[in-house]
């Protein structure tokens, strides 16, 4: 579902540095909010101007190999959902630690999310709204509220992209999938199951974004999904 403006967007969805000071993010976020009036195009504040490792060519056609990426300090671009009435500038809670799928993604206020299970299967739906024989990657997520305030989980948006061209994976809902919901009190833990149409031969290169609300930056898991 890469629209015509996908390359432009992916250049703007630039890198978040691990452990960047929250202040820097706020400043850059504000700058971007000015550059992108309305703030509803789903872009992420840019932390710097280096191209992402996923880009094949820089805008002028130069191979990106001439700009050596620094993997230790970069993470893939997140999928972000816009929220009505909540400007992009309201995103103030940074991701303190992003993660590979085996790790835990933490926000700077102590909240965290991890993938507790991942499974690759083939759909066997029957009847209207269902599909049979399609690849399906199922993620079990666990969100822990390590912050000091209640966390509204009613509008968590989990999205996945895969492969070198960062194809958007369609969410799939069946009897098992269930989103995060309700309010999570401090110290509490919530679980949810999301699934996406990711081909089995693409699970080695997936970016899973957990966008909790309009106020914290999405947590991102990337790399190979450890499907069982």
């Amino acid at each position: 579902m890469s629209g015509p403006d996908a390359p432009r967007r992916s250049r703007r969805q630039l890198l978040l540095r691990w452990g960047l000071p929250v202040l820097v993010l706020i400043v850059v976020g504000l700058l971007l909010a000015l550059i992108l009036p309305g703030g509803t195009d789903g872009s992420v504040p840019a932390a710097d101007s280096e191209p992402t490792a996923s880009e094949g060519l820089s805008p002028d056609g130069e191979p990106t190999a001439t700009v050596p990426p620094s993997p230790a300090t970069e993470q893939p671009a997140a999928s972000v959902a816009a929220r009505e009435g909540v400007p992009e500038s309201a995103r103030t809670v940074a991701v303190a630690a992003a993660a590979e799928f085996a790790g835990t993604a933490e926000w700077s206020d102590g909240a965290s999310v991890r993938v507790t299970d991942a499974r690759q299967q083939v759909t066997s739906g029957r009847g209207p709204g269902e599909r049979a024989g399609q690849p399906q990657t199922v993620f079990a997520l666990e969100l822990t509220n390590g912050s000091g305030a209640p966390l509204d989980l009613n509008a968590v948006i989990v999205q996945a992209v895969y492969g070198g061209d960062k194809s958007q994976a369609s969410p799939l809902y069946d009897a098992e999938t269930v989103d995060f919901s309700r309010t999570l009190e401090p110290g509490g833990t919530a679980t949810a199951i999301y699934s996406f149409a990711i081909p089995a031969d693409q699970v080695g290169d997936v970016v899973l974004s957990v966008d909790v609300d309009g106020y914290r930056f999405p947590a991102v898991f990337s790399g190979a999904v450890p499907v069982r």
């Binding site: 015509p4 969410p171 009897a175």
Partner: protein
């Protein structure tokens, strides 16, 4: 019957036509008496739209749901690109992400464009037409967060920012008033509040309202009653608000008061339910499906307030969506059997109609189905008229479900169908199509048979007459068609007739051209025209020569009403014409024409003994069944044998299965065989049973052969006399249908008395197939007519037999002869090499027990004979009565014991007639037939039980066994699941506290009497445990029902956990229900993050099989620390508990040598392709005694 109207174009032809109409009626070829209904219907019947495909925007996936607002159609589903009508897949594409809009009148896509990041499942409009609501899987719209529901402004096309409610899973169904939006689906929260699959939102701000009824399974349809007082619900649930309501219910607008329907539907969940629900402002329409016996399947109209039945169409094949114009109801789906509505019965091979049309008005009552027990009969219920509207939509591959149409919408002038079809009426038109009423449509769909298929046959067997026969055609949207018949190159019809036909009901049509000069020739063509003027002009037919003398033989054959009759007298060309219909034979290169025939004045064909010596039908024919006859003539000197006539399943002769085979066999004799299927599934084989003439037929003379099959068995006649018979050959193989008749060659692999060649070198003539039996009088009349000999019909042999040990009594009094003939002698062959017996009745005593073929040959006063054979089994006399042997087992459970004496035996044929039990506590259970008896002792102790068995000869035997009983220990867990849990899950056990979901909590439910673990998807794990229990010694009993047969190698699993120390730390016993009906037990160990281990391996329980729905009792014991002993047994709940454990294991895994909880679980292995569930109907646990 007024459905045939005739107008003669020439003086005199009307009277002939009227005679013909009567003849058609007498022949049973008349069309059914349903009213004409289509784009030009009979008075009082509503018109459908025309079947013309109107160009419409296409999408590259599936359209699940549509709504029409004014002139705009909004469609949602799963797709990424749209393209204009006429564009090939992958060309001229414009991105449209799961939502598209187009003009109803032009079919052209509009600029309305929003990106849903996941599929939409349902779409509806507000009653005032200002808003569109979409529900589905998506979580963002144009990158903006949306919790599976979104609203759009119809006027501006914009996403409405003030309506952004959330739910935590997919939304399947929506209904809107101007102030409230109702949603159904699979969610358990909405707007942050607990809402169990049903919720409502305020239209102005998206806030969740207080409306909160609950459903225990997916909600797939919501419709407001027209007066707004009831919210109708449909789906896969069996409960609403915790009360039983299977698949359909309605609630008041407070959500508190519930009504359901009263149609006795028996299934819900994955096995059956309702896929969708719509209204036309008067009726509520539900589309019901069922994968098991008991459910209604079809479209059902209900009162939208009371849910009382208005009508049902009982058309089988899942329906998916409905659109009603107020006079016509269109159902999208794959209907394949509409028999009880007066429509089409199941076809072979199956034909799926992807859209059907019914009247809104009930016009009659349902007939009884002929498919019991496959379908439940709903005979007598009100029923609408099935209308003639059968456009052709082909199945697509996008959903993997082999479907075409999934959704329907429109208005009074247009029908719109959505789905995944790639073509409509044979032309590319993907996923969306429009059709329109006659005043709008081009009305170009005409009669469907081609010019070649309409080609008439002309034959003459009577001086002065040519009989012309042609098939009736059919039309997608017109039932009444007009036929004009033209002679030679004439342009004025010699005959005109109108008749009704449908695609499944196309009788032959015939007319006789009279007053033709002997020896003159004529050929004919026919046109068929629909009421809109679409016409098909047939290929000119064959040239017939008018007979100068009557063919007495041919007219004798035709008088007995064959279904096909090939005289084989053509001397030129490569076609052998059918003298009844138009099922002509194509003659291959190895057929020579013009051979001197068996009947004077008409030639025969000669087959050359190779596979090219073949004359066969080119279009498939419905098999003659159950009663039928094959008649032919053969002349050969071949010792290699070969097929004379055979019905096979392949047009080219490469048959997979054949049946109804008449052939010259390995001995040069005539054999006739029927095939039957032995076994099931991939291992099934085909076996043949034959009857065989006693004399050879390869003597170079013409022989008349008739094989006739019916309820009385099969008789084989040679030259007018019955020469063989078999009372057990009563039906042909129904699997060979439709098929092809072939003469001269075929397939004889694995036949009886198989000749060296399947291809006959010899002449064949005058071959007729009858849809009835022929009597011996008819057969001999045919033979004597051909040979100009006096007719003496063969008598018919028939007898009954009674065996008494080795003595057999037979009675041939049911044999008969055609008057004035009489049977003069009866000869009995006993099948054991002894001399024949005689007399109407006879008896014979066999030397040894066994199965023998007994034959009766009756001879009449003119020497004609008839034969019948039957297989009889005799058994040996009783020996001196040896004493039986008493044997029993005993199992104790607390103070109760169950003694099982079924292992006691007696020497055959003796049987044990009674069991007497002395319990050793001064009580006795007197002699009775039951081999398994319970007994409860008053006090603990050791007792001696004595069993005495008595056989049917009065001999007795006794044996004893000691049993020690102890007082039962208290249960620490017990649950009979006699409750409802509206919120889902299993709630609280009667003893043992709350059930906690270990996995798959949303698939746990309780219906009174069973704790249910649903397994809708391969790989599903579902489980629950009693976390309040902690013990190291558990004696667990439970009863398990697997209601659906597993499909796949691994079956369905149930788990009984006796020691759950923590998540991923437990001992449990897996009970595996294999696809082949066997049951396996294995100890399953989970510990330390290691993969599931099975110490000691699996034990398949000997002698135990189950069927879906059987209750199996399971007992599991786990006890000990340091070393844990696990043992288990499983048995059918209708039988006694086994005396010994079927699986015993020990294990020392350190982490599991501590106290744990008890629980249950179910798993559907990835290989099991059938959605299923596991039901636990009882559960108890106590310390091991």
């Amino acid at each position: 019957m007024s459905s045939l109207s005739v107008r003669g174009s020439r003086a005199g032809s009307a009277a002939l036509a009227a005679l013909l109409a009567v003849g058609l009626l007498l022949l049973g070829l008349a069309v059914p008496g349903v009213a004409s209904a289509d784009t030009a219907p009979d008075p009082g019947v509503p018109a459908t739209v025309a079947a013309d495909r109107l160009g419409t925007v296409q999408v590259n996936g599936v359209v699940w749901s549509m709504v029409t607002v004014g002139n705009m159609v909004y469609a949602t589903g799963s797709f990424t690109q749209a393209r204009p009508a006429g564009a090939a897949a992958g060309t001229s594409e414009t991105p449209r992400a799961n939502l598209v809009a187009f003009s109803l009148t032009t079919g052209v896509m509009t600029a309305f464009n929003h990106t849903l990041n996941g599929q939409g499942r349902t779409i509806t409009a507000s009653p005032d037409g200002t808003r569109i609501y979409v529900g589905g899987d998506f979580t963002t719209v144009d990158g903006v967060a949306r919790g599976h529901i979104a609203a759009f402004d119809v006027a501006t096309g914009a996403l409405i920012t003030t309506f952004a409610p959330t739910s935590n899973a997919a939304v399947y169904s929506l209904a809107a008033t101007d102030t409230t939006v109702y949603a159904g689906g699979n969610f358990t929260t909405a707007g942050g509040q607990a809402r169990t699959r049903l919720a409502a939102f305020t239209a102005s701000n998206g806030a969740v309202t207080a409306w909160a009824p609950t459903a225990n399974h997916t909600v797939r349809g919501i419709v407001l009653s027209p007066d707004g007082t009831r919210v109708n619900l449909a789906g896969q649930f069996s409960q609403i608000n915790g009360a039983t309501a299977i698949a359909v219910a309605n609630v008041n607008t407070a959500g508190t008061e519930m009504r359901t329907w009263q149609l006795g539907i028996t299934n819900s969940g994955d096995a059956g339910g309702v896929w969708n629900m719509k209204t036309d402002g008067t009726n509520l329409y539900v589309v019901a499906y069922g994968f098991q016996v008991g459910n209604i399947e079809g479209t059902i109209a209900l009162n939208p307030n009371t849910l009382e039945l208005v009508w049902m169409n009982d058309c089988h094949g899942d329906p998916y969506d409905i659109f009603s114009t107020g006079t016509v109801v269109y159902t999208a789906g794959h209907v394949h059997d509409c028999e009880t509505s007066g429509g089409y019965p199941d076809q072979r091979p199956t034909v799926w109609k992807r859209v059907i049309a019914n009247t809104v008005a009930a016009t009659g009552t349902l007939k009884a189905t002929t498919q019991v027990p496959r379908y439940t009969s709903w005979a007598g219920r009100p029923n609408p008229n099935l209308l003639t509207f059968f456009p052709l939509l082909t199945a697509g591959s996008f959903t993997g479900q082999n479907q075409a149409a999934w959704s329907a919408s429109g208005n009074g002038s247009y029908l719109v169908l959505g789905g995944e079809f790639p073509t409509v009426n044979g032309t590319g038109q993907q996923a969306l199509v429009r059709m329109a009423t006659r005043n709008i449509a081009p009305n170009t769909r005409g009669p469907e048979l081609t010019a070649a298929q309409m080609r008439p046959n002309a034959t003459s067997t009577t001086p002065g007459e040519i009989k012309v026969t042609w098939p009736s055609s059919w039309d997608m949207d017109n039932e009444t068609l007009t036929y004009n018949l033209y002679r030679n190159t004439g342009t004025t019809p010699v005959y005109t007739v109108t008749a009704k036909s449908q695609w499944w009901n196309r009788p032959n049509m015939t007319w006789t051209d009279t007053g033709r000069p002997a020896g003159s020739t004529a050929s004919y063509r026919v046109t068929v025209t629909d009421p809109l003027g679409n016409v098909v002009n047939s290929t000119q037919g064959n040239t017939a020569t008018v007979a100068s003398t009557a063919s007495a033989y041919a007219n004798r054959v035709l008088a007995d009403s064959p279904a096909q009759y090939w005289r084989l007298g053509e001397t030129t060309g490569t076609t052998a014409y059918d003298y009844v219909g138009t099922a002509n034979l194509a003659e291959a290169a190895g057929i020579t024409r013009g051979t001197a025939g068996a009947v004077t004045g008409d030639a025969a064909i000669t087959a050359n003994g190779t596979t090219t010596g073949r004359a066969a039908t080119t279009a498939s024919l419905t098999a003659p069944n159950p009663a039928f006859s094959v008649e032919t003539w053969v002349r050969t000197t071949s010792t290699a044998g070969g097929v004379i006539a055979q019905f096979g399943d392949n047009a080219t002769g490469a048959n997979t299965t054949t049946d109804r085979s008449l052939y010259v066999d390995a001995g040069g004799r005539a054999s006739f065989g029927l095939s039957r299927r032995v076994g099931t599934g991939a291992t099934a084989t085909i076996a043949y049973t034959t009857v065989r003439s006693p004399a050879v037929v390869n003597d170079g003379q013409w022989h008349h052969l008739v094989a006739t099959v019916g309820a009385g068995g099969t008789q084989l006649y040679v030259d007018g006399a019955q020469v063989a018979g078999n009372a057990t050959m009563t039906t042909a193989n129904t699997r060979v249908n439709p098929g092809y008749w072939a003469l001269g060659t075929g397939t004889l692999t694995a036949f009886v008395d198989t000749p060296t060649s399947a291809s006959l070198a010899g002449a064949i003539d005058e071959t007729a197939i009858y849809p009835t039996t022929l009597t011996s009088a008819q057969v001999v009349q045919h033979y004597s007519t051909a040979t100009n000999t006096a007719a003496n019909p063969s008598p018919t042999a028939s007898f009954t037999s009674t065996a008494n040990q080795l003595a057999l009594s037979v009675d041939g009094s049911a044999s008969s002869d055609t008057a004035p003939g009489t049977i003069t002698s009866y000869a009995w062959s006993w099948g054991d090499g002894t001399a024949n017996g005689s007399g109407v009745t006879a008896s014979h005593t066999y030397a040894t027990a066994g199965t023998y073929t007994v034959g009766l040959t009756v001879t009449d006063n003119d020497g004609a004979t008839g034969t019948a054979t039957s297989s009889v089994t005799v058994s040996g006399p009783p020996p001196a009565n040896p004493a039986p042997t008493a044997s029993f087992t005993v199992a104790a459970n607390g103070l109760q014991v169950t003694a099982n004496g079924s292992a006691s035996s007696d020497t055959a044929p003796g049987t044990i007639s009674s069991y007497t039990w002395n319990w050793g506590d001064d009580t006795t259970t007197p002699a009775g037939a039951a081999s398994t008896v319970p007994h409860t002792y008053a006090t603990a102790g050791t007792y001696t039980i004595t069993l005495t068995v008595t056989d049917n000869g009065g001999a007795t035997n006794s044996t004893t066994r000691n049993v020690t009983v102890a007082a039962a220990t208290a249960e620490f867990a017990r649950d009979a699941f006699g409750r409802t849990v509206p919120a889902g899950g299993w709630g609280n056990a009667e003893v043992g506290g709350a059930w906690t979901a270990s996995v798959g909590g949303n698939r746990l439910s309780v219906t009174p009497g069973a704790g249910v673990m649903d397994l809708p998807t391969a790989g599903n794990n579902t489980g629950a445990f009693l976390g309040g229990v902690s013990q190291t010694s558990a004696d667990i009993r439970t009863s398990i029902v697997v209601p659906v047969a597993p499909v796949g190698t691994a079956g369905t699993d149930a788990y009984v956990s006796g020691r759950r120390v923590g998540a991923g730390e437990e001992y449990r016993v897996r009970v595996r229900f294999y696809t082949n009906g066997t049951v396996g037990l294995v100890l399953s160990r989970l510990s330390g993050g290691a993969a599931e281990a099975f110490p000691g391996g699996e034990a398949i329980v000997p002698g135990l099989t189950y069927k879906p729905g059987d209750a199996l009792n399971v007992r599991v014991q786990m006890f000990g620390t340091g070393t844990t002993t696990v043992r288990a047994m499983v048995w059918n709940a209708t039988g006694a508990e086994p005396a010994t454990w079927q699986m015993t294991r020990t294990d020392t895994t350190a982490a599991l040598q501590v106290a744990g909880a008890v629980g249950l679980a179910a798993y559907r292995p990835g290989s099991n392709t059938s959605a299923t569930s596991v039901r636990f109907t009882s559960f108890s646990a106590r310390p091991v005694a």
